[in-house]
């Protein structure tokens, strides 16, 4: 049988501050973007279902966290992202993109507005490049303070709010995409009501020296189970959320990816971000290809890089994320197809191991978002 051995790499793997806890919880660890990370504990399907029905705790401490200071900081960051940062009120969080001059995406990130600074959370695989890019582009007047001393937890699922408000009642009043400092079990944390599963939930930025104590405190709650990266991927795929490096990258534009909603009316009018000419032209004229949801008809998953063909056998696109959706109970995928084939209901074929497997374009998400309103 193939693929039974984990990938090996010469570089030593970095650990998150929860490495010992993962081991104690019986996690299977795998190399992921240079870190030794838990892919599963009890099993991906059980963890996925637990998160959709109760609350899952994820260690996402490999992600990059940084504080950005400097004069007129919102306007400065707007020179690098198409999101409306100037319009972001204090205590609010926004999802945006670092773009390049070709209109491609260097990374996707979360930006929180604080009184005198912005707080950024970027992808683990991109963090070194992102931070170098931001520092170089903004120049010496701006300081990017990389917070390697911070860990990051995500508590996701319908019971997340019940659990967190047991530790800090204010959690229940937080609105979706808001940020607040909460004291959880005696530990001061920067909490946002956000996540990457499609469920209600929170992301908790906490000192690396205290994260294990907090994680144990949260795991003591009856609703909470530890969840690995395997279920994190199946949850976000069902929620139709992009994975950087798979669904978006330097050669996909925000418009092709269907992330038009991340560009406000003012930014569309004013431009002033890398690749604005290309991105705004695509916004006006429509892109040549679009990211879509894809549903294989049978039980066989269509994985990333599977070729998508039309009924005549002509290639019309490629799957960028695909696998089994435990809540859907069958295979789910997303990918890019030529715009003419992007309408939900359009029949397509997936070329899997030399066979054309039928399926169709579907609307995203596969599982409705349950964000707190």
């Amino acid at each position: 049988m193939s693929n039974t051995k984990p990938d090996t790499n010469d570089a030593p793997l970095k650990q998150t501050p929860l490495a010992a806890l993962h081991q104690e919880l019986g996690a299977r660890m795998v190399p992921f973007t240079g870190y030794n990370m838990p892919v599963q504990y009890q099993g991906i399907i059980a963890e996925h279902t637990h998160t959709r029905t109760q609350a899952g705790l994820f260690d996402v401490s490999h992600m990059g966290q940084a504080i950005l200071h400097g004069p007129d900081i919102e306007k400065a960051l707007e020179t690098l992202v198409p999101g409306d940062i100037a319009g972001l009120a204090e205590g609010r969080v926004r999802y945006t993109l670092l773009t390049n001059d070709a209109g491609g995406v260097l990374d996707d990130l979360m930006v929180t507005r604080h009184e005198d600074h912005l707080f950024l959370i970027v992808n683990a695989a991109c963090k070194d490049a992102d931070f170098a890019h931001i520092s170089a582009q903004l120049g010496k007047a701006y300081t990017l303070e990389i917070k390697a001393d911070l860990a990051l937890l995500a508590l996701q699922g319908p019971a997340a709010v019940t659990v967190l408000s047991r530790l800090a009642p204010e959690a229940a009043q937080m609105s979706f995409m808001s940020a607040q400092t909460l004291v959880l079990g005696g530990i001061e944390c920067d909490v946002t009501r956000s996540g990457y599963t499609g469920e209600d939930g929170f992301e908790i930025s906490v000192s690396a020296s205290r994260v294990e104590r907090l994680a144990r405190r949260l795991l003591d709650e009856p609703e909470v189970a530890p969840i690995g990266l395997g279920a994190r991927d199946s949850l976000r795929l069902e929620a139709g959320l992009c994975l950087y490096g798979s669904d978006i990258d330097t050669v996909t534009t925000p418009i092709e990816a269907g992330l038009n909603w991340t560009i406000s009316k003012r930014r569309r009018t004013e431009g002033g971000f890398p690749g604005a000419d290309i991105i705004l032209q695509q916004l006006a004229e429509g892109p040549q290809r679009k990211r879509v949801g894809l549903k294989p008809e049978g039980k066989a998953p269509a994985r990333a890089h599977t070729e998508i063909t039309d009924s005549a056998g002509k290639k019309i696109g490629e799957v960028t994320s695909g696998g089994f959706g435990p809540s859907v109970g069958g295979p789910v995928a997303m990918g890019y197809v030529e715009t003419a084939h992007a309408k939900p209901g359009t029949p397509v074929n997936f070329q899997v191991r030399g066979k054309a497997l039928p399926g169709e374009v579907v609307a995203l998400p596969f599982v409705p978002h349950q964000y707190f309103k």
Binding site: M1, S2, N3, T4, I44, G230, G323, P331
Partner: protein, 123 residues
């Protein structure tokens, strides 16, 4: 009497006369995690030793199951179409994949017995 052998690719082979029943080991199913789909070969298909016999899809990835011998597929485990999780719950029993004729018993030479495989998988 049936004889149980293992390959370095974490497959088990139960030899009964000139037929081999093939599955994956408990170690392999645990490494794969939740199995969600199995592509079985067609009955009557001729395979060479090392050819792809089946494909097992877990939530995370697709893995090939190789034929341990030269031969012809005589039977496949249709139960896996409805219940792929049998590979996880009963990998050495009801989670078998396919049966294949053994054209040349010498193909089985060099495979491990259960004790040797256990040492190999744990190593």
């Amino acid at each position: 009497m049936a004889e149980l052998k293992f390959t370095e690719e974490h497959e088990w082979v139960r030899v009964e006369g000139t037929t081999a029943t093939v599955g994956i080991s408990d170690f392999a199913q645990e490494q794969l995690g939740d199995v969600v789909f199995i592509e079985l070969p067609d009955v009557g298909k001729a395979l060479k030793k090392g050819d792809e016999g089946a494909v097992v899809e877990s939530v995370k990835a697709a893995s090939e199951v190789f034929s341990p011998v030269n031969g012809e597929i005589t039977e496949v485990n249709e139960a896996l179409n409805d219940e792929p999780g049998l590979v996880n719950s009963d990998p050495m029993g009801n989670g078998w994949f396919f049966k294949i004729t053994i054209a040349d018993a010498a193909d089985l030479d060099g495979m491990m017995d259960e004790a040797a495989y256990k040492a190999f998988a744990e190593g």
